[in-house]
Subunit: 83 residues, 2 copies
């Protein structure tokens, strides 16, 4: 059961989504290839713009790398500092 966005919390959905995905990466629940923007949009019921913002945060934090025309790849824990 995946966590969901809480619209009552006051925290912007894109930040919540980033936090959820970050947790899933650190829990090794997501590894290797990262879900596509479309998939995440449908799974969490948010717009693509929101997903892109969340993904941008994780990319900025070094959790994933993104390649145009391919998608995103989860960076191995030992490649980013042994989370």
């Amino acid at each position: 059961m995946a966590e969901e966005i809480d619209y009552e919390s006051g925290i912007p959905p894109y930040r919540q989504l980033a936090a959820i995905l970050r947790a899933r990466i650190e829990a090794r629940e997501i590894k290797g290839r990262f879900p596509s923007e479309r998939t995440l949009s449908q799974e969490y019921g948010v717009a693509t713009g929101t997903v892109r913002k969340a993904v941008a945060i994780l990319r900025d934090e070094g959790y994933i790398t993104t390649a145009h025309g391919w998608g995103s790849q989860v960076v191995a824990p030992d490649q980013r500092g042994e989370g």
Copy 2:
């Protein structure tokens, strides 16, 4: 003469396109290999993203199957419930 997208109707173009294509399939006007996204995009004057959404609906409904690098195939009527 193919139906066209009505931008005044209030119904999203991708849903209209899905409905048009669904009708063409059920009328046996389209069978075998399904037109490519590019073809449909040009034929109906919509963007590829719009076509992809419409095609995704038909795939979800079981009207067609899609293969990467090949295209889509119309599912035979007797394979989906004798429409």
